[in-house]
Amino acid sequence: MSDLLSASANQQAAAIRNKEISASELCSAYLARIAKLDDQVGAFVRVDHQGATAMAKLVDAAIAAGEEPGPLAGVPVALKDLLVTEDLETSAASKILAGWIPPYDGTAVARLRNAGAVILGKLNLDEFAMGSSNEHSSIKPCANPWNLARVPGGSSGGSAAAVAANLCAISLGTDTGGSIRQPASFCGVLGLKPTYGRVSRYGVIAYASSLDQIGPLARSAEDAALMLEVICGKDPKDATSLDAPVPAFRQACQGDVRGLRIGIADEMSGDLSDPQVAAAVEAGIQVLQRAGAEVSRISLPHTRYALPAYYLLAPAEASSNLARYDGVRFGMRAGDERDLMDMYCQTRGQGFGAEVKRRIMLGTFALRAGYYDAYYKKAQQVRALIAEDFKQAFTKVDVIASPTAPSVAFAPGAKASPMDMYQADIFTLSCNLAGLPGMSMCCGFDSDNMPIGLQLLAPPLQEESLLRCAGEYQRRTDWHTRRPEAFQ
């Protein structure tokens, strides 16, 4: 059992299918691990003992009956609590939704269940996915398994911490401006944000609809690929989901990088990051170069404006998306029951946390008559220029490499002002603005033994290029096999 606890999700799935172990045994082992270890981490906001156990039994019954149990049969997974789960509370780590029991599954969740995955529970996040450190969770803090006195990153902090501490085999997060990749970097795991539209957003609590995307966090490239094969694909319930064939992503991990063209942009280079981060990222790129990739310099002149563009556009969309939390249809209600306006304002004033209010206010400002052209429209035009920069760059290179974040994980409270916190996202934001697939993988550790992430971006629908790089890199290095000491 201890071997299978540390095995990859692909190996676990194979062992269950070959009846070397039952799904129920593996599920119990993970539930026991969560019970023993998660108090220190705070990755889970809700453990679904009953649902997980019932699903594991179904998988075992299917296998015993000789039925096809699905590609994720028995694999213990966990979900960012932004993904809507039928009959399992979904809160977005917000007081305003506390206690909400959804009457439906989101599409990605439904696909996981159909594939036989055992959903262990829901994972911590910054409230409504707004944050880069998980400090904005209204439920509880989440710690970084590599150093419990540091943050796990955000907003999918619980998703990254749970995988790093091996409290699940694979998790799902969402990424609006780096919320999968940055916590993956901080926790030393692999996180992949697919092309905008690859995965249906039906049943994802919306933050910024033109940027949001679901993706996997895993230890190995093959495990992320396995998850992608299940969750990607057209969904009639999301008009923006892409009607593109879903490649054999696991096969892409076996490919090599000979002749692959890697671009390094001056505007997203190590000069903007901590020297130890820059050195590890450079060394990581050299590994791929030695494997046959070609490296060249490119320019993405407008990406330096990604931060101001993103922090106008995302809050503007959020201010509109979060208008639905008004005390009528779900969650909490406060204020004077005889006064509609008072009920709205009190519900929202009491239900939302500080960062969510800040972004709603910022978005309301940007969309307000008189400011619309100068802020919102201007940011949309800059977004078009950023997307065009990438389009040009991808005529010369196949992937673009950079640090995922300018630093390793920091301590709670280290970012004194909102702008300081927003700077943690400088390398990840432009990917979402352009709708590209992006990935972070662990490429080393700093002198305090904190993980460092290497980010790779690819043209739309070229996730396979990212997985080729990750597969090759993980065959040549062993960073991804390291475990935090307290969570061996």
Partner: protein, 100 residues
Amino acid sequence: MSTVTEDEIRSLARLARLALSDEEVRALQTDLSSILTHMQALAEVDTEGVEAMTHVMLGNEALRADRVAPSLDRERVLSASPRHDHEHFSVPAILPGSNS
């Protein structure tokens, strides 16, 4: 340099339907002013003639057929709301003098 006044914060909060304490108003005034100062970097960019990008367009702009399909069960949806009468969501009176 403050770019947003306290009055503007209060007026935005009304538009956003947010009840804020005086302390929150002051904090938001400081934060929004600082954030918006950084946003002014966008003014440097020449966007003359650039079309605003509202969405990522990768061939995902086709609409599905408009066919009736089953929707969520009313009782289950209502049961998740803070107040309902088993047929409707209940809200405070919308028009002055009417009952909720």
